[in-house]
Amino acid sequence: MAKQPQTAITPTRAENYPEWYQQVVKAADLAENSDVRGCMVIKPWGYAIWENIQKRLDAMFKATGHENAYFPLFIPMSFLEKEAQHVEGFAKECAVVTHHRLEPDGKGGLQPAPSAKLEEPLIVRPTSETIIGATFARWVESYRDLPILINQWANVVRWELRTRMFLRTTEFLWQEGHTVHANEAEAREETRRMLDVYAEFAEGAMAMPVIKGEKTAGERFPGAVATYSIEAMMQDRKALQAGTSHFLGQNFAKAQEIKFAAEDGTLTYAWTTSWGVSTRLIGGLIMTHSDDDGLVLPPKIAPAHVVILPIYRDDEEKAKSCLTVTRSRGSWRRNRMTASQSACASTIATSVAARRSGNGSSVVCRFVSRPARATWSATTLRSAAAMWQARARSSRVKNLWLPLPQHWRRFSRRFSIVPTQPAALQL
């Protein structure tokens, strides 16, 4: 009987895709379930990915003229009632705050104080169209105040019954853009522009191909006139909605009295849009690139980068190692290796000079003994990288790297780590 090659992640994708996903998240140390059902703890490795996503997206928003602001977590319940379709869409998953104080319940525990009941319950934002719209109504008086282009980085809560880490959680982190325009054409243009920004980000930075499209009536954002989305296909042939951009028409403007004096002096309702992406992108990232050996990240989003340099005792050993590194390059390319990484791999195969340089933020991996297996698989190289990451987290070396903690011990016997200057690697 042929022995099955062992994979770092059990089960494999073919065996049980949803479980494989959970195991990748666990093995890469990205997040864990919390004591609150449906909520996750985003651990440092996972949060670092989110920070990189934020950094890039934020720059793209600024470049398209948007500014950041922050609005309250709580929304008065009456605000939600103003837009009928909107309330219908979100009411069934709203968290509600009804009291503002706890008091002893007489049995050694606590209970909400009956005297501290709120006159009007507050809901925890599932999205902020209503409260931001009410604010915008105060900001907008004349056509000179328009357009308003605001983005907010925040958390939102949607009481989901079936949750999965990053893909669907009760509380999640996201950004929501909200804009107000003087006319329909401009608002529609904004909606499409932000969809393009999302698509560019998904494909350019996350290396995740997406289809840009418009939603049908049934799948539209509650209260929107038109909803556009970017849809990505995952390895299990299921689609993932990775970002949405909504043209809200005058629906929200009418509900919240966002009116302005036009150039000719007439009072008109404004046109609004909203758009958002969330930590769900990380779920998409995992499912797009990872394999049965664990997490694979595109270099622009990866929290740490590493270069591995084999160093040889003699020519015989070099010949062997070069062969194996070249083979490894093949597996790297399957993991979407870019031109710069390819160049890097050649550097790895040839540069011995780097060994001589002093300390720095890069790394040299030394083949201490001949590997037990004939080839160095991508996993092996990856594991070495992970080991290095544990020792030096702040590197700016360009390459694709992947944390896989459970492998550190297994491969530490085969590598020793020597720091070196990035300059010596000609990166």
């Binding site: 073919a14 289809i211 418009e214 939603k215 049908t216 799948e219 989305s229 849809e231 042939r237 689609a239």
Partner: protein
């Protein structure tokens, strides 16, 4: 995958809903209708979107037979 008939569509998504070998993105002409919603529900698929860069292709809705020029992307979704 472009799909032109309801039979093909059903085959594409298969009966086994947790299978990773069935399904994918199906490009089909459609008209938004209750008939379609019901069919989709039974296959656990949804209309993901109507691609923006698509060109009009006159033809028939695979669910109702009504004339339809637009293709939607159908898939199971997260």
């Amino acid at each position: 995958v472009k799909i032109e008939s309801l039979k093909e569509f059903e085959e594409f998504f298969g009966k086994d809903d947790e299978s990773t070998t069935k399904g994918g993105l199906a490009y089909c002409r459609f008209v938004d209708s209750p008939t379609m919603d019901e069919k989709l529900k039974s296959l656990k698929a949804t209309v993901r979107c109507v691609p923006l860069d698509a060109q009009d292709e006159p033809g028939k809705c695979i669910f109702t037979g009504q004339p339809s020029a637009k293709r939607g992307v159908f898939a199971r979704a997260y």
